[in-house]
């Protein structure tokens, strides 16, 4: 026990100040005052891997390390969509995950927000749309905030999550274009 306490004391506090919200990541202006009043700053997130390579998950895990200390900001990951305010969805949505993703969305109580994380979640990424992939998350459920990056860094993820929370978030035109993903099932000309 003494070793543990000594190590905790020697490590000290590593938490860094959070970045500012990135409003350019806001896709759809569903973020009305009323929703934000309901959610407050105590946000709960249910993460759903809908087909990612696991790269985004590694960075989402990193949000909980002492440097980013997500829980210190009043934001935490929960084990059930029924306890969640936000769905944080990664990956191109594989067809095999589409039904599970929709059910998770339906099980999340209103008001709810959806954040698509990573290039695949934003545009389909390198996997695109195919016989097995539906591409970007917005093709399957409505998306409020899109965080690009392959994978997005913990700082970018934090900026996107804070943008979802930011009352100052000003709506911008959707940046995502379905044609940004690639479709591979078309026979080559």
């Amino acid at each position: 026990m003494l070793h543990v306490l000594r190590q905790i004391a020697a490590t000290g506090i590593k938490t860094e100040p959070p970045p500012s919200p990135a409003e350019e990541m806001v896709v759809v202006a569903r973020l009305q005052e009323q929703i934000l009043r309901t959610l407050g700053r105590a946000l709960t997130i249910r993460q759903v891997d809908a087909g990612s390579c696991n790269g985004c998950e590694l960075e989402i895990h990193a949000l909980s390390n002492p440097y980013y200390n997500l829980e210190g900001l009043g934001i935490r990951f929960v084990a059930s969509p029924r306890h969640a305010d936000v769905l944080l969805v990664t990956g191109p949505v594989s067809k095999h995950m589409a039904i599970a993703l929709k059910r998770t969305y339906d099980a999340t109580p209103d008001p709810k927000l959806v954040i698509a994380a990573g290039d695949c979640g934003c545009s389909g990424g390198i996997f695109g749309e195919s016989y097995a992939s539906l591409g970007r998350v917005a093709n399957v459920i409505p998306v409020d905030v899109a965080i690009p990056g392959c994978p997005p860094t913990p700082t970018a993820l934090l900026q996107g999550i804070l943008a979802a929370l930011s009352k100052a978030a000003s709506p911008t035109e959707p940046q995502l274009d379905a044609s940004a993903g690639t479709h591979i099932d078309e026979p080559a000309p």
Partner: protein
């Protein structure tokens, strides 16, 4: 493997470890596999390709490994009605690979278990995505299959269904437990949820650009995959990467190993109720990722290993940071290891939990660090040392008890060894170019690349098409072998120990589902 007693012809195979290929008849396929098993060989991978456009029907490929190297058995199936013999009685790991080969290519074996594996109703069951005449229809809606799980019946036996959306931040998969009270009688996995058509996607990419996709087969092993792919490309092109690139690749691979082991050591503490471990190890992992970013421009070193060499040479400041981190990490991890080792509650959870005996591991073909924790001492870096490992005398880490405690101990020891290797690599890093220009690629050339990733051996089988295109690329993750072993490791344990046992293996879903 010496196949001459079977009267089989062999040809050398382009690969970074000793390898040969042999065309086999259906009878020879089963005899060769049996002979390999008797001589201590293991199944590495099994996959199929559509060769009808070249008047060769379908080709089933079975890759075996023994102490002499790799042997690729190639069996031609003249048409889609032809069947090949079931290999799962010899190598149980073949079961799921055979089922996936049917789902994707439509070649069938004569096994009793004909349940789908890669297919989960996203496309019609009589369509096969990896056939060359496959055309997907936008009308195909995601469907739901009714998978026949094996059920256990009896007094007080009930079923727990978990997933595909898990309670934590984990990849999706389904676990079906048959339990009595808290005790697990049986676990059956249903994977394939993250099947996103990776192998088909390769066929639309030029060889020179495939490294971006291969680096995203399994994000936690991006360096291992990219290096294996680069080796296959270089074997096809008859090209050698410059020495400095090869040494830097090994440096990246060892840092990938360190980062993954550190992350899992933290979660293993956490899953046993010791949150301190997660806080400490996740801090150290973050330190590693930040130095990666400084040295290679990416926290996980994605797109750093490229065919021909490496994309980025760390500057002198970054080299100093890489070197300084070896000593500081080793010092910190030693303190944490003492704390883990002396923590009675933690050790109580780790020991005799999720045990895989050496005999079971050998029978099921367990591979990678998990196999080394069950006294199966295979490590490509030691068994077939190529530059730069040949010069470094990698210490092979093994344990004998095969439980969570053994897998934890292997991860600690491998982390220390990787830190030693990183220091040695920095010390003797050759100077010079970091990439060789890529020549034109010959069409219809076939090569293998293999790398001992942190989880185990990653294999890339690559065949070129005309004009620098990819005709077929099959990535193989060691998780194919280890997922079925996890089903055995949990038998007789209690349900709450499953997360701990699962994390001690930490298998890939994406790398397996493709």
């Amino acid at each position: 493997m010496n196949v001459s007693p079977l009267g089989m012809a062999t040809a050398p195979l382009a690969c970074n470890v000793p390898a040969q290929r042999c065309p086999v008849s259906s009878g020879q396929l089963i005899t060769a596999c049996r002979l390999a098993w008797e001589q201590g060989g293991q199944l590495v991978a099994l996959w199929a390709s559509d060769e009808r456009d070249r008047e060769r029907g379908f080709c089933l490929r079975v890759l075996l490994k023994d102490s002499e190297g790799l042997t690729l058995l190639e069996h031609t199936l003249p048409d889609e009605g032809a069947r090949y013999p079931d290999l799962s009685a010899i190598f149980p790991a073949a079961n799921r690979m055979q089922r996936a080969a049917f789902d994707l290519v439509g070649v069938q074996c004569d096994a009793d278990d004909q349940r789908p594996w890669a297919w989960q109703a996203a496309w019609p069951i009589d369509q096969f995505p990896l056939r060359r005449d496959f055309v997907a229809s936008p009308k195909w809606e995601p469907g739901q299959e009714d998978y026949p799980f094996v059920r256990v019946s009896g007094d007080g036996v009930h079923e727990i269904a978990v997933g595909p959306v898990h309670a934590g931040i984990i990849e999706p998969g389904h676990f079906r437990f048959q339990v009595v009270g808290e005790k697990v009688l049986r676990l059956e996995e249903r994977l394939g949820y993250v099947h996103k058509g990776i192998e088909k996607r390769f066929e639309a990419l030029p060889i020179a650009e495939g490294y971006r996709l291969v680096g995203r087969v399994s994000g936690d092993s991006t360096v291992a995959y990219a290096w294996a792919y680069a080796q296959a490309v270089e074997a096809i092109a008859g090209l050698a990467a410059p020495p400095r690139a090869v040494w830097l690749r090994a440096l990246c691979l060892e840092r990938e190993r360190v980062a993954n082991h550190l992350g899992d050591l933290g979660y293993l503490g956490n899953d046993a109720g010791f949150a301190f471990g997660l806080a400490q190890f996740s801090r150290l992992k973050e330190d590693v990722l930040r130095v990666n970013s400084r040295a290679f421009g990416h926290r996980f070193m994605m797109d750093v290993v490229v065919p021909g060499g490496i994309a980025r040479d760390p500057d002198s400041d970054a080299v100093a940071a890489l070197r300084a981190q070896c000593a500081s990490l080793a010092r910190e991890i030693r303190v944490l290891r003492d704390i883990y080792d002396e923590h009675a509650g933690l050790q109580d959870r780790f020991r005799q939990c999720g045990q895989v005996t050496s005999e079971l591991a050998a029978k099921l073909g367990l591979t990678g660090f998990a196999a080394r924790a069950s006294a199966l001492a295979d490590d490509l870096r030691c068994d077939f040392p190529a530059p730069p490992y040949a010069a470094l005398a990698v210490r092979k880490v093994t344990q004998t008890s095969g439980d969570v405690a053994a897998r934890v101990a292997v991860r600690f020891d491998e982390t220390f060894e990787s830190l030693r290797l990183i220091e040695a690599l920095l010390e003797a890093m050759p100077k010079g170019e970091i990439a060789a220009p890529l020549p034109e690629f010959p069409a219809f050339a076939f090569a293998l690349g293999t790398v001992e990733g942190w989880r185990g051996p990653v294999v890339i089988a690559l065949e070129s098409g005309p004009d620098g295109s990819i005709r077929r690329c099959h990535p193989h993750d060691p998780s194919w072998q280890n997922w079925p072993v996890l089903e055995h490791a949990v038998i007789g344990n209690i349900v709450p120990d499953f997360p701990l046992i699962n994390k001690s293996f930490n298998l890939s879903y994406s790398g397996h589902d493709l």
